[in-house]
Each structure stands twice: as structure tokens, then as C-alpha cells.
Symmetry: C2
Subunit: 340 residues, 2 copies
DNA sequence: CTGAAAGCGCTAACAC
DNA sequence: GTGTTAGCGCTTTCAG
């Protein structure tokens, strides 16, 4: 390659990346011609190995579906803006896969790691990741400080509370939360907010645990309330669940929002497009993602001119008692037909 | 590391991967202790560089949403079974990103590439990828033989034809196809099947081009037919579109499936859970993915005992005139409430 | 069975 | 401005 261009090997390397070194026009042209001719493509492994930096960031997700797809796209977008590449992996909800992906990423010596809703506990995570690789977590509530640079958490508690208030205002005399037991931490947060909300306005309520929304018991409970003629308000775990619930209620002849009002969470596209459209809690992806990337990049390019992505414009909330390295992103209630 | 274990550097390498070399128990234990102690984690770049093989496969997708999420999970699963790692990238529908991701993957010297619905044309693709990296394509219809090892295509044409027949059987006297113009090739295939179907049974039909299903024109056309009292059958581009369409029709007070019957494509989860549930064309993910991975691995481990994943059990179809390196996966119609 | 040595393809000093 | 050289952390002959 260097020989083909008739220059030295270092010169080639110079023109190929670091143009701050003065170079003769002629030389540059010669190298670029050779690149075309030989169909040269840099070997990134060799380069990374040598420079001890990969310019690659990893993102491990519990799924690719629904909200996570949008999230991944948003992450990719801002990471690219900073000249890094983002590798996204989904663990399909399986802890083994989560571990496998993180291992692969660490073996490949990514410059940093983002993990969304880790299944591993804090202690295991700390030991597993070690000191070398900076990490930012999403939805890791009350984790010790020594495991990651920080955590960017959604304020599900605040959101759920807003939902309760909204439902109460719209005249609901009974409130249900359909609790998705598999989603441990994130479900927990919703629960906290739901409790706080119902206690605040003293409305009778029930928490209905479920695995996949198919349990008949849910519908029995609902029927109990509806037949008393009382307007019922339901908070679902997310819009996907809200959607399925509404469909099944419609199949049983219930009137939404007449007899039952439903609110979902995440503002997924299904919430917007369903009929009736579903009131939901919107996530400010931009806010979430920008904060996380800044956390990581500040660490990586310490002091370096991190083109100011200006986090000013983003609002955050500070739940009492939350650790300093955690930031919380507020959720905004979007009223739609399902609670009219 | 070698020093810590008190053995030579090559011995460490030996115990760490290739156990076919005879090793003293003692040695093995010493090395493994050292691994624990030093918190050693193999540098995959160095290893790959040296062995000239990465055991990594790349998958580039147009999106992470809907069907693609399931697809990515399925791919990941079978690739893992063969001891490779799969890196999945989404181009968000943007050709620049598709190129960027492929470039990154090629620079990282992945052992093989899977591309789903490439935006690049065959000629560009061939030049871009070059000879070095074997590639398998999804939904690349009528591509020349010299660009990829092969293509695994969905038989959208056959599927659309089945849908037309189904709608006709259910008494539809007019048929619409809502054509998604942005999805060039894949929309084209559906069109072929739709045309073939309607010509076969001589039913009046219309093709309605759309970008995002929001055009009022669609609803005017529909109203025209419905007010004649004729049952209308609609084939949508996919289940997402079918879902949105149904919602909007419901909002306008139409009765599904009474006045209008709708069929979607892909059998996404929304089709199953909507009310009314949506008749759809199911994709055999297993079939698709197994064929593709086998194509690639046959090439990579030439002659090697490719644990027979037995493709026998999978059905394929052979549309007339399709090239030999293409295989076509049939789609199965799942009747649901939307066409009852 | 174990160890020494030659790369893999690049980057980064540092001479020229 | 350009070339030489010493690694980066592994794998892989090939001798002991």
C-alpha cells in the first residue's frame, strides 16, 4: 500500500487520518489514488489495538421492540454526532444474553458502555465490568455510586402520579394499576407513584399483578367495578399493555372511555394511532439520550472541547432521597381519547 | 499474565482456547487462577487481528421496529448457536447510515454480512463490499449473481395473491391495495401479487399510493365504494398500516369487517391483539433465518461439519423466472376477525 | 507438554 | 515534510 503510493508507511497513515501534520499535496493525491486502486479499507482492529481506543460505544438493551427501537435510534444519532460508532445489542429479556453481549463488548474494548435496565445486580455488575470501561446506566434506581459514572432514570413515579390525578379529575371513582411483575424495578417505580397518587386523593384502588394481560381475573375485577356503575380508571404498565387491554375490553363490549378510562405509558406509536387513541406519558428521548451521552463523553474526552450540546434546555426532576449521580427525566402526560 | 501464572505466553494462549493440545492439569489450574486474580479479559481485537478471523457477523437492517425487532432476535439466536456473534445495525431508513454501518462492519473485518432490504443498488453494493466479505441478502429480488452469496426473499407476491383470493371468497366486490411508495422493491412484489390475484378473479380494484396513510383521498375512495353498498376488501402494506387504517375507519364509523374487510402483512403482534384482530400473512422467521445463516456458514466453514440444521423441514417456493441463487419463503394467511 | 519468536495491520514518537 | 522503528496483545509455527 505504501509501496504502491511510492511513499512511506507513516505518510500513508498520516494522510489517512491526522491531517494536522503538514503534507505535500502531491503526496496526498498519490496516497488517495493508491487507496482507490488497491480498494484499500483500513483495518479497524489493528488501528484500535495500536491507538488503544476504538471510538466505539456499546448499548445493551432488554429488547429491540416498541420504545427501545426509538431509543436505540436516538442514541445512535447523538453518538454519531460525536464521532463515535454505536453497537446495539438486545438481550431478549434473557440475563445470560445480557452478560454475553457485555462480555463481547468489553473484549472488543469499547470506549464506553450504556446499559438499559440491567438484569444483573449492582455488585455483580461492578465486578463484571471492572474499572477499565466507563458506563452509564438507564433506569437503574438507587444503585451505589461506585458501579457506573451515573444513571439516567425516567421519572415513572412522578408520571404514574400524574396519571392518577388525571384519571381522578376525569371522574374515576375507582383506580386500577395493572402491574407487570416481570419488569421489576421499572414496575416498582410506577407502583410508588400510583400509591402516592391514590393516597393523595383518597380514591379506592387495586393493584392487579399480571404476566401478560391474559388473566381472566383482571376482567372479573373490572366487571365488579363497572357493574356498580362507577367510572373506572386504569393505568397500564405501558402503551402496549394499554392497547391490548382496550382491545379485549372492546371485545367484551365495554365502552372506552365511557365506562372505563385507560392511560398507558411511553407514548408509543400504538397509543397515538389506536382508536380510541390512548392517553399516555411521554418520554423526552432527546433529554434522556443527551444527558447520558454527555456523561460518558465528558469522562472520555476529559477537558476536551465537548461541543456543547447544551443540556440547559432540558428539564430534570429531583425526587427526594435520590442519589446525586442519578438524574431523573420527567414524563409528560398527553391526554387523548381514552380518558376523555 | 504469563508471568503471573509462571508459564509461557503461548501456554496461556493454549489453555485459553484450544484444548486439543495436551496440557498438564497443574498448568491449566495455574493459568485459570491467574485469570481470576488479574481480572484478565482477552483482547478480541488483538486475537482477531492475529488469527485473521473475528467470529463476528454483521446484520444491517432498515429499522429496529415491528417485524425487524423479531427478525433481529431470531437471527441473533441462530448465529449464536454456531458460535458467532451478531452485530445488528439499523439505518433508520437513511441510505447514508446504511453505508456508514456497512463500512464500519467491513473495517472491523466481520466474517460475513447480512443485509435486509438494501437501499444501495446491486452495482454499488458489489463495488462497496468487494470480494473479501461473504454476504447474504434479504428481500433482494432479481439481483445479479455476482454481488452476494445468495438472497432469501419473502414471497410477498404469492402472499398478496392469497390475500386477494381470501378477500374475494369472503364476498368483497371491490379490492384496494394501499401501496406504500417509499418501500420500493418490497411494495413492488406485493403489487405483482395483487395484480395477478385481481386479474385472476376479475374483481374491480384500485391501487392507492400513499406515504403514511394520512391522505384524505384514501377515505374518499373508500366512501365512494362503501356508499354503493358493496363490501370492500383492502390489502394494506403491512399490519402497522392495516392497524392505522382500521382505527381511522372506526373513527369514521365504518363497520369492520361488516362494510370493509382488511388484511395486513407480516403477522405483527398488533394484528393479533387489535380489535377486531387483523387477518395477516405470516412470515416463517425460522425458515428465513435458517436458510440465510446456512448459506453464509457453508461458505465460511467450507466442508467443515456444519451441524446440520436440517433445512429439509422448511418449505420454499420457486416463482417462475427467479434466479437460482435466490430462495423464496412462502407466506401463510392467518384468517382473523377483520375479514370474517 | 512448554517456550521462543515471528508476525497480524496499524499508530506514534522521533529522527532525518 | 517524510521515513524508521518500536510496540499494541494476541496466535501460531517450530524447536526444545
Amino acid at each position: 500500500m505504501a509501496r504502491a503510493a511510492g511513499v512511506s508507511i507513516a505518510t500513508v497513515s498520516n494522510v489517512l487520518n491526522r491531517r494536522n501534520v503538514p503534507l505535500a499535496e502531491e503526496t496526498i493525491r498519490k496516497v488517495e489514488d493508491a487507496v482507490q486502486l488497491l480498494g484499500y479499507r483500513r483495518n479497524e482492529m489493528a488501528a484500535s489495538l495500536s491507538r488503544k481506543k476504538t471510538y466505539e460505544l456499546g448499548l445493551v438493551l432488554p429488547h429491540f421492540n416498541g420504545y427501545f427501537a426509538d431509543f436505540a435510534h436516538a442514541m445512535q444519532d447523538v453518538v454519531h454526532q460525536f464521532g463515535y460508532h454505536l453497537s446495539v445489542y438486545s438481550s431478549t429479556g434473557k440475563p445470560e444474553l445480557e452478560k454475553r453481549h457485555m462480555e463481547t463488548l468489553l473484549r472488543r474494548r469499547v470506549d464506553g458502555l450504556f446499559c438499559h435496565g440491567l438484569a444483573m445486580n449492582p455488585e455483580t455488575t461492578r465486578k463484571f465490568v471492572g474499572e477499565g470501561t466507563p458506563m452509564v446506566l438507564f433506569n437503574a434506581y438507587n444503585w451505589p455510586e461506585n458501579v457506573a459514572l451515573g444513571a439516567v432514570n425516567l421519572d415513572f413515579a412522578g408520571g404514574a402520579e400524574k396519571a392518577v390525578l388525571h384519571l381522578a379529575e376525569r371522574g374515576c371513582r375507582q383506580l386500577f394499576y395493572i402491574s407487570r411483575v416481570r419488569a421489576r424495578t421499572t414496575n416498582q417505580q410506577r407502583l410508588v407513584g400510583f400509591q402516592r397518587g391514590v393516597e393523595g386523593c383518597g380514591i379506592p384502588h387495586r393493584i392487579i399483578p399480571t404476566q401478560g394481560m391474559y388473566e381472566d381475573e383482571i376482567f372479573e375485577s373490572i366487571e365488579d367495578v363497572v357493574k356498580q356503575g362507577e367510572p373506572l380508571g386504569i393505568l397500564a404498565f405501558d402503551d402496549g399493555d394499554a392497547f391490548m387491554l382496550i382491545s379485549r375490553l372492546q371485545a367484551r363490549g365495554y365502552d372506552i372511555p365511557g365506562q372505563i378510562k385507560v392511560v398507558g405509558i411511553n407514548n408509543q406509536s400504538v397509543a397515538q394511532h389506536n382508536w380510541p387513541s390512548i392517553t399516555s406519558l411521554d418520554i423526552d428521548l432527546d433529554n434522556q439520550v443527551s444527558h447520558a451521552v454527555c456523561m460518558l463523553l465528558q469522562h472520555l474526552e476529559e477537558g476536551a472541547a465537548l461541543r456543547n450540546i447544551s443540556l440547559e434546555r432540558f428539564e430534570t426532576v429531583k425526587p427526594t432521597g435520590s442519589p446525586a449521580h442519578e438524574i431523573h427525566i420527567p414524563m409528560r402526560l398527553i391526554p387523548r381519547m381514552s380518558t376523555e
